[in-house]
């Protein structure tokens, strides 16, 4: 009991510390001072009166949402004597693996730099700055020569690294048994099985109304949809993050989604936020980074060719270029197993006083990175709001999809979860695919790394991402991947090569996500 209490007070202290540095703190302080003018605030009962005032005026709610937001990303409780690396990643071998992967990426980036004789960063001449400012809203029409640039890495390179991950303390012996994991990931991490998933995702059950199922044309809206919309509006009126997160587990109505996501992510567009974005924009104008070319290339290769997202090409540049200059993103490395790459001012290699993080936000984009932003363009058309939402989504969720860690929502766990689900519940299919050289993870990996963006139809993708926000977990991606295989199992059993298996699973744009998930979790005989 005492341990829990001291744990709790530790957490509270840490959150208070964190919030003290935030904008909300100064706003609350200002509000408290201003409230002294109000007649109902009496000197004798100052503390209580101000608390009451906060409650009535909605500021307490804002504080509540902020605390809730902090709790959502707060790392799992750990030993009080644990060093900060443990917050990033408790397992040593994972940390080591992430470290060497990072070294490889940086090496690749540096060699591209040297090969092309392009500096990692340079200040733009004034003329170029002016030009860029004029073209800010239509950078898509710019056609710089990107032929020599190649993405620093693609998901399949990352998959190879994960396949070769080994826990040096784990010895599973040479003999194969029914316990042997047949998949590519050979790491002993704990993943949930279907009974546990059913408990975790209980709101997706057969007896609960869902958007994505119970709002289809055959179902009269009086049965579920109308009431659900009404509740959604109420949640928004209350401005309660926690309630919104609970509500969205059943899906969000399209008209309310933008506001609900902003509420859950605790994003409010204050003038300071817009100003911050403008400042980032200025940074982009003044300095040119090598990663900018990588971003251009990525957008041109992916989103520009996508049936749904090509329209928003210019927004993607505006968001991603600013993102790479945003040093506030560095704070998420406290709980990310990855570390920002360091670079040194020319000629001062190794001297710590001349070390800078490169890129400034510490995140090197890979092939497909822009697809994290693209679906958000359907919800937010104001660049600074779009930017804030994306940044928050990244530091809460997306970073886990390309860093090596033991976190349950980390990509390693997702891969293992996917393979385990398949092996346990579709053993015949798994075995068959393995036999023909078509390890299922080789096909589904790219879906999970991109959180299915670019593979599903946008309305379905948004319903999926509703649940990511609702459950504060990425595990649903692995479950969906398994559900897709289950759905196409009959066709997959007939293929005889990896290429043919890829072909069966090439087009997911007609899939309806929620029925697939529901059937896989709740209607399959286990």
């Amino acid at each position: 009991m005492l341990q829990e209490e001291s744990d709790l007070s530790l957490i509270i202290a840490q959150i208070v510390q964190k919030l003290k540095g935030s904008n909300l703190y100064s706003q609350l302080e200002r509000q408290a001072w201003a409230s002294l003018q109000r007649p109902e605030i009496k000197l004798e009962s100052l503390k209580e009166d101000i608390k009451e005032f906060f409650k009535i005026s909605g500021w307490e709610k804002k504080l509540q949402n902020a605390v809730y937001g902090e709790l959502s990303v707060f790392p799992l409780p750990s030993h009080p004597a644990a060093p900060p690396e443990h917050l990033k990643e408790p397992l040593v071998y994972m940390r080591k693996a992430q470290g060497s992967w990072e070294k490889r990426i940086l090496k690749s980036l540096n060699s591209m730099c040297t090969e092309l004789s392009i500096p990692l960063a340079r200040k733009r001449p004034v003329g170029e700055q002016k030009e860029l400012l004029n073209k800010w809203n239509e950078m898509g029409t710019d056609e710089p020569d990107l032929s020599l640039f190649r993405p620093v890495y693609a998901p399949k390179d990352f998959l190879e690294v994960l396949i070769n991950l080994r826990n040096p303390n784990y010895e599973n012996g040479d003999s194969l048994s029914f316990r042997t994991h047949l998949g590519l990931i050979q790491i002993p991490l704990k993943v949930k099985d279907i009974p546990e998933l059913k408990e975790c995702f209980v709101e997706l059950g057969l007896n609960t109304g869902q958007l994505g199922i119970d709002d289809s044309t055959q179902v009269p809206p009086e049965l579920f949809e109308n009431e659900h919309v009404r509740i959604g509006q109420k949640v928004l009126a209350e401005q309660d993050s926690a309630a919104a997160q609970q509500y969205i587990r059943q899906g969000s109505p399209t008209a309310l989604r933008a506001e609900l996501w902003a509420l859950i992510l605790n994003i409010s567009s204050e003038p300071e936020d817009v100003l911050y974005y403008e400042q980032l924009k200025t940074n982009v104008i003044q300095h040119d980074l090598l990663v900018d070319s990588l971003i251009y290339k990525d957008v041109k290769l992916t989103a520009s060719n996508d049936d749904y997202y090509f329209v928003f090409e210019d927004y993607l540049y505006q968001v991603l270029l600013c993102f790479s200059r945003d040093t506030s993103v560095l704070s998420h490395f406290a709980y990310n197993s990855a570390s920002p790459p360091k670079s040194y001012i020319r000629g001062k290699l190794g001297l710590e006083e001349y070390a800078v993080f490169y890129p400034p936000n510490g995140v090197i984009p890979f092939h497909g990175f822009s697809m994290y932003v693209a679906p958000l363009c359907f919800l937010y058309h104001e660049p600074s709001k779009l930017y804030q939402i994306f940044r928050e989504m990244y530091v809460r969720f997306f970073f886990r999809l390309h860093s090596i860690s033991s976190h349950p929502s980390g990509i390693v766990s997702l891969c293992l979860l996917f393979e385990t689900l398949l092996q346990t519940y579709l053993p015949q299919l798994f075995y068959h695919l393995r036999e023909i050289g078509a390890q299922p993870l080789r096909i589904s990996f790219k879906w999970m790394v991109r959180a299915f963006s670019g593979y599903l139809a946008t309305d379905q993708l948004l319903l999926l991402w509703d649940r990511i926000l609702g459950y504060n977990s990425l595990e649903i991606l692995a479950v969906l991947a398994a559900a897709v295989f289950a759905f196409r199992a009959v066709n997959l059993m007939e293929v005889t090569s990896l290429a043919a298996a890829e072909a069966v699973l090439a087009d997911l744009s007609t899939l309806k996500v929620m029925p697939l998930l529901q059937i896989f979790l709740f209607a399959t005989v286990t």
Partner: protein
């Protein structure tokens, strides 16, 4: 009922031919006995012309109405709509209600348009009222964006003025006729880009009016960022959304072709603007299509051998008001991307299922009421017979109630046409 349908076409497009062949129909030439002729607009002129025309027999169907140009020529369309509005006004119909500025409340869906050179003076009067406006000049008889240009100064169209020395009454043939319309310079932009809507509408009969809307219409985006600045007036890639023009721009993409499905538009608008205004927008779009058809119905030669699949071009402005730009009698059957080919193939397929029931030799005396199952991706847009069956007085009540509450555009129970809550 034996005997295969014999088809002819003078439009060599695979989306057509594949559809005929998959039904096991037999290709013949136009001089033989044919049942189904998918013809170009030149050919329909010949078939129904006084000199070269011939009577069609009961088992022959063609894909154009003889005087479709009442709707598909830009000047005649405007003329018919203006006439229709005046008629309604004379009858005292509530549809013709005007606001305090004299603008029609429900029937103002075509941008102000004048015929040149006939209405030149009227146009000048209108132009002088708002001299900073931009106008778009379109030749009456051309398509694919040919011959279109923008003007913002009277001097740019001097040669159409009636008393200009450079024009001559002799050359007032159809070829020189232009329409000039107020350019919508505040179009709704998505991702900073201008777009228009292409919707397919099938009309099987004008009296009673029976029309179907294809659910899979699409938005055509300009490749270049939209700017209302006057310096870009000459840049056709900025202003015209015809694919024929965009295709030659530097940034044309052959995977998506700059096209977006209408469902994406709906999702985007619902997410960013809300459900009510989006439903209202789509309701208005359906409304203006039906009104345009009603406007030409009285003058249309409702030949029972005919059906027609129109391509409607609609622009939405930034107040979410839809404008009818033009109607095409021969929407392009060329496919610019793979998705496009699939869409047009299915369009023809669903069209044939409706107008040639069961794929059997047609009898043009049939009641033109296909069963619901064959509609495919079409939805009933308006069925005059059904509407009249429910009583004409419903029209007024439903019309008043139009702005209240969203009406989902999806059919719920069999047979009900929810798209037409106003009759």
């Amino acid at each position: 009922m034996a005997g295969k349908v014999k088809w002819v076409t003078d439009i060599e497009k695979s989306v057509l031919i594949n559809n005929f062949e998959k039904r096991g129909w037999v290709q013949v030439t136009e001089n033989e006995d044919w049942n189904f002729y998918w013809m170009s607009v030149q050919t329909i002129r010949n078939v129904f012309s006084v000199e070269t025309g011939y009577r069609l027999s009961d088992d022959q169907i063609v894909n154009h109405f003889p005087n479709h140009y009442e709707l598909t020529r830009k000047d005649l369309m405007v003329k018919n709509i203006k006439r229709y509005r005046k008629e309604l006004e004379k009858e005292g119909s509530p549809l013709a209600e005007k606001d305090e500025n004299g603008k029609y409340l429900y029937l103002d869906f075509v941008p102000v348009t004048y015929m040149l050179p006939a209405d030149y003076n009227l146009f000048v009067e209108e132009f002088r009222k708002s001299p900073s406006s931009t106008w778009i000049m379109k030749p009456c008889g051309k398509a694919q964006g040919k011959g279109i240009f923008l003007i913002n100064k009277l001097s740019q169209i001097k040669k159409w003025s009636r008393d200009s020395k450079t024009s001559s009454f002799v050359s007032q043939s159809n070829k020189e006729a232009y329409v000039i319309s107020l350019y919508i310079n505040n179009p709704l932009l998505i991702g900073g880009r201008k777009f228009d809507l292409r919707l397919y509408v099938l009309v099987s009969t004008y009296r009673p009016l029976r029309c179907y809307m294809y659910k899979l219409g699409f938005c055509r985006f300009c490749t270049v960022k939209y700017t209302p600045s006057t310096s870009e007036l000459d840049n056709m890639f900025v202003h015209l959304t015809n694919v024929a023009i965009q295709k030659h721009g530097d940034d044309y993409n052959h995977i998506h072709g700059g096209k977006w499905m209408v469902s994406n538009l709906r999702l985007y608008l619902e997410s960013t603007r809300g459900k009510e205004v989006t439903s209202k927008l789509f309701d208005e779009i359906h409304w203006i299509i039906v009104q345009s058809l009603k406007a030409v119905a009285p003058v249309m030669n409702n030949d029972k051998h005919c059906f027609e699949c129109y391509g409607y071009d609609i622009i939405i402005d930034d107040k979410l008001k839809p404008w009818l730009i033009e109607v095409n009698a021969s929407p392009s059957l060329t496919s610019s991307t793979a998705n496009d080919r699939i869409l047009k193939y299915n369009l023809i397929n669903d069209t044939l299922n409706i107008v040639v029931p069961n794929g059997e030799i047609p009898d043009c005396k049939w009641n033109k009421s296909p069963p619901k199952e064959v509609l495919g991706n079409y939805e009933i847009l308006y069925d005059e017979e059904l509407a009249q069956g429910d009583g004409a007085d419903r029209e007024l009540r439903s019309r008043q109630g139009q702005s209240q509450g969203p009406r989902a555009g999806r059919s719920r129970d069999s047979g009900r046409t929810v798209l037409t809550t106003w009759k």
